[in-house]
């Protein structure tokens, strides 16, 4: 439990690095932090124009439907892809100063969480614009977010540590995320998948998260608690295993970088 004491002592560093991640990314750009808002908005605009044409779907209020899936997905990809090079881009401090190394992956996941929370305003605004209103099931939003946060923290520990040893992971992740994008019900509805492919929806953790978000934002129904509990269990296993791997590998960081 020494790690919690360490993290508490270094809380200021954690705070500043989160701030640096959120603010620093858009430093020197004209719109500044507004980009955490504009970026997803533009992405939604592109998908919302393209996918209805290709998929010829007749989902009502498709923009809201898409938004409820795409934003949590962006939260996931931002956290995972940034984790893959967080130590490489911070080589200079890792090699020169001692600080609890856990701070870097935690700050990546936390800053992507903050960006996600900012962007959630978009779903809410769009729901109102399209006259769908909001449901009281939104009170479950924090629970889903927390489970997803733990899940991503676990992945982030593993990915950030392994990439130090195998730089290929960084490139591999780019491709893996693209494949996973189509294996996750973001632009389509999980129910429309042919039976033989339903297994993907069962095996893909992100499908559970997206489905849960979509229940509360789009369908205005109770989220599937079975799925959320399953994800909670998976996330806890992942964060414990991920942290153990991280703790073992971090000893060699300064030498491998």
């Amino acid at each position: 439990m020494k790690v919690f004491k360490d993290l508490y002592q270094y809380r200021e560093l954690l705070k500043t690095s989160v701030k640096k991640e959120v603010r620093g990314r858009y430093k020197n750009s004209f719109f500044g932090v507004l980009w955490s808002f504009l970026n997803p908005l533009l992405q939604i605009a592109v998908y919302a124009i393209i996918f209805p044409i290709i998929l010829k779907n007749n989902i009502e209020n498709y923009v809201v439907f898409l938004c409820a899936g795409l934003l949590p997905w962006t939260f996931f990809t931002a956290a995972v892809s940034q984790s893959s090079f967080i130590f490489i881009s911070n080589t200079n401090i890792v090699k020169k100063v001692y600080f609890p190394r856990e701070i870097l992956p935690i700050s990546v996941v936390t800053s992507s969480l903050i960006n996600f929370l900012i962007s959630v305003i978009i779903v809410i605004a769009l729901s109102l614009v399209y006259g769908m209103g909001l449901s009281w099931y939104l009170v479950f939003f924090p629970i889903i977010v927390i489970v997803q946060y733990i899940f991503q923290l676990g992945i982030s520990f593993i990915v950030s540590a392994i990439t130090v040893y195998f730089r290929d992971i960084e490139h591999f992740i780019g491709i893996a995320l693209q494949v996973l994008f189509y294996a996750t019900p973001i632009v389509y509805d999980a129910a429309t998948i042919p039976g033989s492919f339903q297994i993907i929806m069962k095996l893909n953790p992100m499908a559970y998260f997206i489905t849960a978000y979509r229940s509360i934002f789009y369908y205005h129904t109770m989220p599937d608690w079975g799925g959320i509990l399953l994800m909670l269990a998976l996330s806890i296993v992942l964060i414990v295993v991920g942290y153990l791997i991280f703790r073992k590998l971090q000893k060699g960081f300064a030498e491998e970088l």
Binding site: L13, K96, Y98, F99
Partner: protein, 244 residues
């Protein structure tokens, strides 16, 4: 027992030196025997060293004798292959000044960031920020981005942060040559003051004069082993004799 602040027990450290390191999976697969020539280089070999509270210790020795490695092991940047290092107390290391400075941020912002890397909380930093600026003599430039600083100013700011974090143990690697004569004097004064306050310090340096001035004990490392350990003057004289 409580006076032992750093205890190094049977510590060995070796680095693997790759002649042509395969960093990607492709290289590892394609050339898994031929290209991955490597050699184990033992840098520290069964080191035992106990440093007590209030001691000012100099690690001396020729290049490649393992001084900096030992210092890095004490800070926990790297870890030993075998043996154990125990540290009691808050430790700050100045291995390289200004590590983590962000060129686009102002001097003041960098003080906050740098001090937070040393594990200070916001409150602690705020109570020190004036002292740090005062010590660095950079008041007129403190709100300019550090990329506009000269290298001397950069070092002065970095040293001022590091020396003001109030650590109980300070590890300092070859950075006594900060700034001009005037600033160096000031640094030495500060370190003498810290010594008086009973802080423990470990130096790596090649400046024998500063070793004699400041340190109470010298440890001579040679080829990864401790060759001599004891009174500063004695060890330094022997060392100069041997290398001359």
């Amino acid at each position: 027992m409580k006076d032992e602040v750093i205890k190094v027990e049977h510590v060995s450290k070796s680095f693997t030196v790759y002649f042509d390191k395969a960093n990607t999976i492709k290289e590892k697969l394609l050339f898994f025997k031929k290209r991955n020539k490597k050699e184990k280089r033992i840098v520290l070999n069964d080191i035992n060293l106990t440093i007590n509270k209030g001691e000012v210790v100099a690690l001396i020795g020729t290049n490649g004798s393992g001084k900096s490695t030992l210092l890095k092991l004490m800070t926990r940047i790297i870890y030993p292959n075998s043996g154990k290092i125990t540290v009691n107390g808050k430790l700050t290391s100045l291995l390289e000044l200004g590590a983590g400075f962000h060129p686009d941020f102002s001097g003041r912002e960098n003080i906050y960031f740098n001090a937070s890397i040393f594990g200070l909380t916001k409150k602690e930093i705020e109570s020190r920020v004036e002292d740090i600026i005062e010590f660095s003599e950079l008041r007129d430039f403190i709100d300019n981005p550090v990329r506009t600083y000269s290298s001397g100013m950069y070092m002065r700011l970095a040293f001022s942060v590091a020396i003001n974090v109030d650590a109980e143990i300070l590890l300092i690697d070859e950075i006594l040559s900060v700034g001009d004569q005037h600033f160096q004097e000031k640094c030495f004064d500060k370190m003498r003051q810290l010594k008086k306050e009973g802080k423990t310090m470990v130096f790596v340096t090649h400046s024998m004069q500063s070793v004699k001035d400041l340190c109470t004990r010298a440890v001579w490392l040679y080829d990864g082993k401790i060759k001599m350990d004891g009174d500063t003057n004695e060890v330094v004289d022997k060392y100069i004799e041997a290398t001359a």
